[in-house]
């Protein structure tokens, strides 16, 4: 097979040509993709913006052939705050905004204290959120969990389950690495159990079984049940990530620590864990993103999270019609949150590799 030697691209124009019009197939594909992209963009612009109705009393008043964003606009407080008393909406609004606080704290402090302060802020976020939502202290009227819903509920559940699963996951990771076969076996069994079951099954099981496991009479509410189930589920995946991080720290580090006089747990806290967490951080964030998406499953056990409440609103007789606008809105919100977190994780990964 005699082919001429490949010629390097001579200039920018040549590179551009290779990228778009390298050969007949390539050219056809370029034109087809550009045409498709152009058509899709125009249809989206037309439907979503130009012909759309932004405010209307009901579906009939929306212009046909255009998006009915009025539906989203009209029910927005409910989508964000659920059935929370309207005059207290500042509380779930605070919950929605709170997760960015550890990031701000971390960025504002000097490097020396950054890790510790961010870590502390992350650990304190769920209790503060729960307090703000539930109330029951002087100054905050109590609001039962049945009234919680929408985006604020999603963020609350995701943050609480993630933070609660951290200590459990750390314990599991250490137990899994223990030299005692019983301990490591029990930990492995626990992890494989939660990783082998679908989340839908776990949530159903939690709702059915938790009342049976607890002493007769106690009846945990749906919110608590869902958080417990998600915590146990997430801890298994988190444990594997942490175990990978611990494994990546060279053994010579613990040996050197021991020679200096550090006991096992001291060495872990001061020398091994800081290194392990650095390595595992991108994967940790990815687990957090997955958990944020998985929180939507609580809809199957009757909680009105962000997706659940929008789906329920679709049965409102005033707004009967295609659910496209609603789902696009949900998708946009989730996409923004998840994409930002993933980009942050990718950034950490790039900085660590440098």
């Amino acid at each position: 097979m005699n082919r001429p030697p490949p010629r390097p691209a001579a200039n920018a124009l040549a590179t551009w040509r290779v990228a778009f019009f390298a050969g007949p197939v390539s050219t056809v594909l370029t034109l087809a993709l550009l045409a498709l992209a152009g058509w899709a963009a125009w249809r989206l612009l037309d439907w979503g913006v130009l012909s759309a109705t932004w405010s209307a009393p009901d579906r009939q008043a929306c212009a046909p052939g255009g998006a009915c964003w009025a539906f989203v606009a009209a029910r927005l407080p409910q989508f964000l705050f659920g059935f929370y008393p309207p005059d207290l909406h500042w509380r779930p609004a605070l919950v929605v905004g709170l997760p960015v606080l550890p990031a701000i704290i971390g960025a504002a402090l000097p490097r020396r204290h950054r890790a510790l302060a961010s870590g502390a802020a992350i650990l304190l976020t769920p209790p503060v959120m729960l307090l703000v939502m539930a109330g029951g202290v002087p100054g905050l009227a109590p609001v039962p969990t049945e009234r919680w819903g929408g985006l604020s509920l999603t963020i609350l559940i995701a943050t609480t389950a993630f933070v609660a699963s951290l200590p459990l996951a750390l314990g599991l990771a250490y137990a899994r690495r223990a030299s005692l076969p019983v301990v490591s076996g029990l930990a492995a069994g626990f992890i494989e159990l939660w990783r082998g079951l679908p989340l839908v099954t776990i949530l159903f099981m939690a709702v059915i079984l938790l009342p049976l496991f607890l002493p007769a009479g106690t009846r945990p509410d749906r919110f608590t049940t869902a958080v417990v189930a998600l915590t146990l589920y997430n801890s298994a995946y988190l444990a594997e990530v942490l175990r990978g991080g611990l494994q990546s720290v060279a053994r010579s580090q613990s040996i050197a620590a021991r020679a200096l006089g550090f006991g096992f747990w001291r060495a872990q806290a001061d020398i091994v864990l800081p290194q392990a967490l650095r390595v595992a951080l991108p994967a940790l964030v990815n687990v957090a993103v997955a958990l944020l998406k998985d929180t939507s499953y609580v809809m199957v056990v009757g909680l009105f999270d962000f997706i659940g409440i929008v789906a329920a609103a679709l049965s409102d007789p005033r707004w009967m019609g295609p659910p496209t606008e609603a789902y696009l809105f949900i998708g946009a919100v989730y996409w923004t949150a998840c994409f930002s977190l993933s980009q942050w994780a990718a950034g950490i990964e790039r900085r660590l590799a440098a």
Binding site: A250, S252, Q253, I255, A256, R258, A259, L260, G261, F262, G263, R266, D270, I271, P274, Q275, R278
Partner: protein, 253 residues
């Protein structure tokens, strides 16, 4: 009355996976002396060294270092760490801490010395090894020789009376071996008991009070440097010296 020896090993034996790694080893080292362990790879010198500070366990025999019964204290690394320090072939600096923090960490956490005091002391140790200007650097920005010197400062910061070196220059490029040996020579005369496993015969000739040759887990020779380098102490010594000199590993000291 002569002070008790800093290191006293009697009848030390260790087997691993059916192989005898150490066989009935006995040796002593006086306080403030410098002992060089040499021998081929696999002769057991690293293992012997790691038994001295309790990093390895053994099957029979007693080990007393700095007045401590090591066997009894293996579960109390804090006690051992205060009296015995160790420097490793791969330096094993803590990569997430600066040079200063590497040296100051153990005194702060284990000796409960305050941060400022510990950092001041750490600066002193770093100056002693010639790295006073590099305190805020991270380990990965340092050369191998510099990292090893930081490791020595880190071990010294706990004020041990015995310092063990496990082939400290074997992982270094030749041009950096000298700077580390210079630090070790400086320490050898300072009153701290030193035991080092090394191939650097120039160092042994210049600083050692006794040279111990190990082969297949046994002590073949244990004598002063002149007698050792004379080559007549034992046939194994002659063989070892001819091999070492032929491979040109002797460095000018």
């Amino acid at each position: 009355m002569t002070p008790p020896p800093a290191i006293e090993v009697r009848g030390l034996s260790k087997s691993y996976a059916g192989r005898t790694v150490l066989h009935d080893i006995s040796m002593t080292a006086a306080a403030g002396s410098c002992t060089v362990l040499c021998g081929a790879s696999g002769s057991g010198k690293s293992t012997l060294l790691r038994c001295l500070n309790g990093l390895e366990h053994w099957d029979a025999g007693t080990v007393r270092v700095a007045g401590l019964d090591i066997a009894a204290l293996r579960t109390r690394p804090q006690r051992i760490g205060r009296a015995i320090g160790m420097v490793f072939q791969d330096f094993a600096l803590f990569p997430h801490l600066s040079v200063l923090d590497n040296v100051a960490l153990a005194p702060r956490r284990l000796l409960r010395i305050g941060r400022d005091e510990a950092e001041a002391a750490a600066l002193g140790w770093l100056r002693r090894v010639g790295l006073g200007e590099l305190t805020s650097r991270m380990p990965r920005a340092l050369s191998g020789g510099q990292q090893q010197r930081v490791a020595i400062a880190r071990a010294l910061a706990m004020n041990p009376s015995v310092l063990l070196f496990d082939e400290p220059t074997s992982a270094l490029d030749p041009e950096m071996v000298g700077e580390v040996l210079a630090v070790m020579r400086d320490l050898a005369g300072s009153g701290i008991t030193i035991v080092t496993a090394t191939h650097e015969m120039g160092f042994a000739r210049a600083c050692a009070d006794q040279v111990v040759l190990l082969a297949a887990g046994r002590v073949c020779a244990c004598c002063g440097p002149e007698a050792f380098f004379d080559g007549r102490e034992a046939p194994e010594v002659a063989m070892f010296l001819s091999r070492v000199l032929r491979s040109g590993r002797q460095t000018a000291s």
